[in-house]
């Protein structure tokens, strides 16, 4: 809650002003019953003009209450709006910064509901608190103060109840936060099923698994209902218990006052007035409990939001003193790199190679051999366990992020296209002129099919680019990668859906248009990498062959096998 409330700090001034206005409005409204009883007691039956005068005063107070309340409510709405906006903005920005391992730990559905529903809960609470949180405390404090003056002894009874109230509130809050955290967790579970099924609907229908999915959904739905009911039942006890405690206090006051009046320590009139205030106080207490229930729900959500906000970046920039530069004329150097995802088996073992600027590297190997792992290490999605990776002699761990990622253009396995125009999918929010977009699409052999759309580069893609084919997707992704004319171009298995002709044309275009760029191509086809200046054959995380196509045909048995397996088995689309 603390982390989240920090966002409110910027609006303390406006909130204070709004609350002050609200207090004026509330006081004006609370005046009404006093004026009423004054009229009844002192003005009635005397003169018509006095009655009209006091009546008009009431109307005046009502008007003030109305105007001030509207104003205060609007200010509250504005404060909550701004607060939620800035909090959600940071939350989203932070989410994008999470490393792959961290995202996996939170899970995407959960991150998603933290950005949307959880921040909505917090927003609602902040809004509601400003609107309803003024009247009740004023009445509560005011009521208690007045009763203290009326009969201190009797009001002690009430004060004696307060610790019980607080005790219960604290106890239930503790339980409630846990329960609501569970509720949110089952919301995550439900979001997951809906999300997975929306994405896999074809497979589900193809396998006729809709009934199975309905059952799977029913489980999470029931789980959610169960948790919501549990939380609701606990929170539902607050109101009756609080009301009962207050009422018992009331009973105690009556019982005690009987003997006090008998002993002439108190007057019946005082007791009557006392009871009146008691009713007021317990009414405001009800309002307080309602706020309290919302607060509990909000705390659970706030906790989930803070968890994300407080996550430390696990991949940060290290000092050069720990990871010194090396002297090297090479552009990229892998020096005895070892890495393991789970800390048990090396997924990359003792990898060393060097590339000069403008050289082309091909990486080939069986599915699951660890080709992409090398890319993930080079691009620093993970840090190496041992050894080091250098770019222009700098250890990648010491390069500031913005400078680091500007060097790269990459088409990765997670082919990420989103609902926007093709042009924007290529530009990807960078400052790239339209001509360059077309140029890069030409290099990536995407220009022709894009031009075939009636609206060309303005053609809108659906989410995940489902309205273009696999080969077209890959070409758009490659266009994106080359558009910024990067120092290093990474193509991780991103030509697999291209037909032979297109693949060849792409390689020609890359050679001529980007001769100064160091290109790293991960592929399964020998044809894709055979012209590379260096080819690495990877098996089980190790380099089992390196050299040019011709050299490897002689020196590496596995390479020869791969190559032969593809002879005459080339590709058509």
């Amino acid at each position: 809650m603390k982390t989240v409330l920090k966002y409110l700090k910027a609006y303390y001034g406006r909130m204070g002003l709004g609350l002050s206005i609200k207090i004026i409005g509330t006081v004006a409204e609370l005046m009404l019953p006093y004026i009423l009883s004054h009229i009844l007691a002192n003005v009635m039956g005397k003169s018509a003009s006095d009655i009209v005068l006091w009546g008009c005063l009431m109307i005046g107070c009502s008007a003030i209450a109305c105007i001030f309340n509207v104003k205060a409510n609007r200010m509250a709405a504005k404060v909550s709006r701004d607060f939620a906006e800035s909090m959600r903005k940071d939350l989203f920005a932070k989410t994008l910064k999470l490393s792959a391992a961290q995202t996996d730990k939170f899970t995407i559905p959960s991150l998603e509901s933290r950005i949307t529903t959880d921040s909505y809960h917090v927003y609602s609470f902040i809004n509601m608190m400003q609107r309803m949180g003024v009247r009740a405390p004023i009445m509560l404090v005011g009521g208690i103060t007045i009763t203290l003056f009326m009969d201190a002894y009797l009001s002690l009874v009430m004060i004696a109840i307060i610790p019980f109230l607080f005790g219960i509130v604290l106890f239930i809050r503790k339980k409630g936060v846990g329960l609501y955290t569970k509720v949110q967790k089952s919301v995550d579970g439900m979001v997951r099923v809906v999300r997975e099924d929306s994405q896999g609907i074809r497979v589900i229908k193809a396998l006729s698994k809709t009934d199975y999915e309905k059952r799977r959904y029913d489980d999470v739905n029931r789980e959610l209902v169960k948790n919501e009911t549990r939380a609701g039942i606990i929170m539902g006890t607050v109101n009756p218990i609080m009301t009962m405690l207050m009422n018992m206090g009331c009973v105690a006051v009556v019982a005690l006052s009987a003997s006090r009046v008998a002993n002439h320590q108190s007057h019946p009139e005082t007791v009557i007035a006392f009871m009146q205030y008691f009713t007021h106080i317990s009414m405001s207490l009800m309002a307080v409990t309602r706020i309290f229930v919302m607060y509990t729900k909000c705390s659970a959500s706030a906790k989930r939001i803070s968890e994300v906000l407080l996550t430390e970046e696990d991949i940060s920039v290290m000092p050069k003193s720990d990871y010194p530069d090396i002297f090297s004329s090479n552009h990229i150097v892998f020096d005895k790199v070892c890495f393991s995802y789970n800390g048990k088996r090396d997924n990359a073992h003792d990898i060393s190679f060097a590339l000069k600027k403008g050289e082309k590297l091909g990486i080939i190997g069986a599915t699951g051999s660890g080709k992409s792992t090398l890319i993930k290490l080079l691009m620093r999605f993970y840090d190496v366990d041992r050894g080091a990776i250098y770019i222009n002699g700098e250890d990648v761990r010491t390069i500031e992020k913005d400078r680091f990622y500007k060097m790269f253009g990459s088409a990765l396995q997670q082919d990420f296209l989103y609902s926007d125009s093709i042009e924007e999918n290529i530009r990807f929010g960078r400052d790239i002129p339209a001509e360059r977009i077309v140029e890069s699409a030409k290099i990536a052999q995407a220009h022709d099919f894009i031009s075939d759309f009636a609206d060309g580069y303005d053609h809108e893609l659906t989410p995940h680019g489902t309205n273009i084919s696999g080969g077209q997707k890959q070409r758009v992704l490659i266009s994106r990668a080359v558009a910024s004319n990067p120092d290093i171009l990474v193509l991780d298995d991103s030509c697999s859906a291209l037909d032979y002709k297109t693949d060849a044309a792409l390689r020609h275009a890359l050679d001529s248009a980007m001769s100064n760029t160091t290109v790293i191509t991960v592929a399964q086809r020998v044809s894709t990498v055979k012209d590379c200046s260096l080819i690495l054959v990877i098996d089980d995380g190790k380099i089992i062959g390196s050299g040019t196509h011709e050299e490897l045909l002689v020196s590496c048995l596995q390479y020869r096998e791969i190559s032969e397996s593809q002879m005459g088995g080339a590709f058509v689309e």
Binding site: I39, R81, F449, A570
Partner: protein, 599 residues
């Protein structure tokens, strides 16, 4: 601020939505009716408390000294009443919770089941995040209104009517004040809700859009990081965030006037009652008004009337305050109902048959189809696949190959022509059984969060570990799985970051091998698998294809070359067909493509 141009034009059928929500509630009348009864009882009990305390105080104030016996009796009654009232209100809260949870459960279920019955195209055009927003945020909003506000409205109604009766008995002319102010309040709320309604609809819509965007971008998180676009994407997110929050604020800006304004009208009426009542009393006192006249009133009468007016006004105030909640619940309900009312895949014909052990003869007869009206993608496609034969489909990307597959599976219904399996039109076959007739491996490797075992076993209900291992071995993924610390129990995560696309594809191939159907569809099934592994699984694939009718979309000539029939689809038309030799002789698109690998 622009207040007008932002309003959402579409008209909402509020009454319809309300009635539909009521139907849900009254579906649980056996809980709802007791809930109302209990509400009244609990209210009555809490009113009894003050009555006994009044008696106790009278006994205390007795001129001849405190009557302790009466005091104790009253105190006992009070305790009983308050405890009973607390218990009742707790039970009531639980019942209301149960009702709302039942309704919410039902709604979520209905929405989800509708989703599974929608044509696949729906998911191509609707952002996943927006769909999620319907099922989480929108239903949640309805839920909180049902569980909190409904009881409140019900109890208010009781208090309002009760107070009105008392007021009528005390003074009829004074009631006239309300005859003016109540309609004023009603008119005002109606006028305001009309204005606020579209704002609340917009609010729900904007939140859905925001959710859609967040979901889409989170999916691409790694790519965004690789391009260091976090800042820019955050800015774009924030634009939507800002829009959504503006929509909130705009709804609130007008919404929050409702409570105070109605409060003002109520206070105004009380003030007027006070003034008029005071004057009536003045004239009643000095005899100007006879005690038989309707205008006659005592001081106690005025005091009581005012008290009841306050009681009467309270719930109306409260109601005006929660009207906003109702508005947002209605907007949410509107969106939820929109999904529930979405047109599903057409029902199977009543006389539709089960497809049992099909021979596997598949025919297309002059089939035309377009995803959108007037935009035909496939033109007059005809083909015959004999049982057990392999049909390969080749052609340039975007030519319509995948569409042919979608039609085979009846993901879409054709516009004209006829598709038959074993001579039966596929629209005469139950959809589920038609789809069960095919095993399909797609290029798109869909895995869900669960163990690797679960993901493979998904292809066949009740598959054993042995069976799963067998297909995993055939798909050449067994060794990899066994190398993982948790083996087949390894849980796959969302990003599946530690598992490559090729491996994902092998898992889906294993899944397909497990489901044992007569016909097979391979849509670029091995595009991400390296060729050596592919050759190794070829054997298993060949076994899989043995004796089954097989549709293959592939880019490897080795697979295509051996097909019994190769179809070239270009621009939605079959331009060439025949086996490899025939097509090579023909010297068309296929032979050019084939020869290009040697150039």
């Amino acid at each position: 601020m622009n207040k007008k141009n932002d309003t959402f034009k579409r008209k909402r059928d509020n009454k319809g939505i309300f009635l539909r929500l009521c139907k849900y509630v009254f579906g649980y009348w056996y809980l709802f009716v007791p809930a109302i009864v209990m509400t009244l009882l609990s209210n009555q009990l809490s009113l009894l408390g003050p009555k006994y305390s009044g008696e106790a105080i009278d006994a205390i104030a007795n001129k001849d000294g405190v009557q302790f016996d009466i005091v104790w009796k009253s105190v006992t009654y009070m305790i009983v009443c308050y405890i009973a009232s607390a218990l009742l209100s707790y039970v009531l809260a639980v019942i209301m919770l149960k009702i709302s949870q039942k309704i919410v459960y039902k709604m979520r279920k209905q929405v989800f089941e509708k989703l599974t019955s929608l044509p696949v195209g729906y998911f191509d055009t609707h952002a996943t995040g927006d769909i999620i927003s319907h099922i989480s945020y929108d239903i949640d909003t309805i839920n909180s209104t049902l569980s909190h506000d409904l009881v409140q409205v019900m109890t208010s109604l009781y208090t309002v009517i009760g107070s009105l009766v008392f007021m009528w008995n005390i003074s009829k002319p004074l009631i006239l004040v309300f005859a003016i102010t109540v309609p004023a309040a009603v008119l005002f709320t109606r006028y305001r809700s009309k204005k606020v309604r579209p704002l609340f609809s917009k609010r729900s819509r904007k939140l859905g859009e925001l959710n859609g965007y967040a979901e889409e971008m989170l999916t691409g998180c790694r790519t965004i990081q690789a391009y260091e676009r976090e800042g820019e994407i955050s800015n774009r997110f924030n634009k939507r965030n800002s829009d959504a929050m503006d929509a909130y604020y705009n709804a609130d800006f007008y919404g929050v006037t409702m409570g105070p304004s109605v409060g003002f009208i109520n206070n105004l009426s009380i003030s007027l009652v006070m003034i008029l009542g005071g004057i009536f009393y003045l004239y009643s006192q000095n005899g100007t008004v006879a005690s038989t006249s309707v205008f006659f009133i005592t001081l106690g009468g005025v005091a009581q009337f005012v008290q009841y007016s306050r009681k009467f006004a309270g719930p109306i105030n409260e109601f005006a305050n929660i009207l906003n909640e109702f508005q947002s619940a209605f907007s949410a309900a509107e969106r939820v109902f929109a999904i529930i009312d979405e047109k599903p895949e057409p029902e199977d014909k009543p006389d539709a048959k089960e497809l049992e052990n099909p021979e596997g003869e598949v025919c297309f007869d002059n089939v035309s189809f377009g995803y959108v009206k007037d935009k035909t993608v496939l033109h007059g496609i005809s083909l015959v696949a004999q049982p057990g034969k392999t049909i390969a489909v080749v052609g340039p990307t975007g030519g319509g190959k995948t569409t042919v597959i979608s039609l085979l599976m009846r993901f879409y219904d054709i516009d004209s022509g006829r598709i038959t399996v074993d001579g039966v039109g596929i629209d005469d076959i139950k959809r589920a059984s038609l789809r069960k007739g095919y095993t399909m491996v797609l290029q798109d490797t869909w895995l869900f969060k669960g163990t690797i075992f679960d993901n493979i076993a998904y292809g066949k209900e009740g598959a054993t570990l042995e069976e799963v291992k067998k297909v995993a071995k055939a798909a050449r993924i067994d060794a990899y799985i066994e190398s993982l610390p948790d083996g087949y129990d390894t849980v796959l995560t969302d990003d599946g970051i530690n598992i490559s696309k090729g491996q994902r594809q092998l898992i889906t191939i294993a899944r397909a091998m497990l489901s044992d159907s007569e016909m097979l569809i391979l849509d670029e099934a091995t595009s991400n698998v390296d060729s050596r592994t592919e050759i190794k699984i070829q054997q298993a694939m060949a076994e899989l294809m043995e004796g089954r009718t097989c549709f293959v979309i592939a880019h490897r000539l080795s697979t295509v070359q051996n097909a019994d029939c190769i179809l070239v689809i270009q621009n939605g038309r079959i331009t060439e067909s025949g086996n490899h030799e025939e097509l090579m002789k023909k010297g068309g698109f296929y032979s050019t493509l084939y020869n290009s690998q040697f150039s």
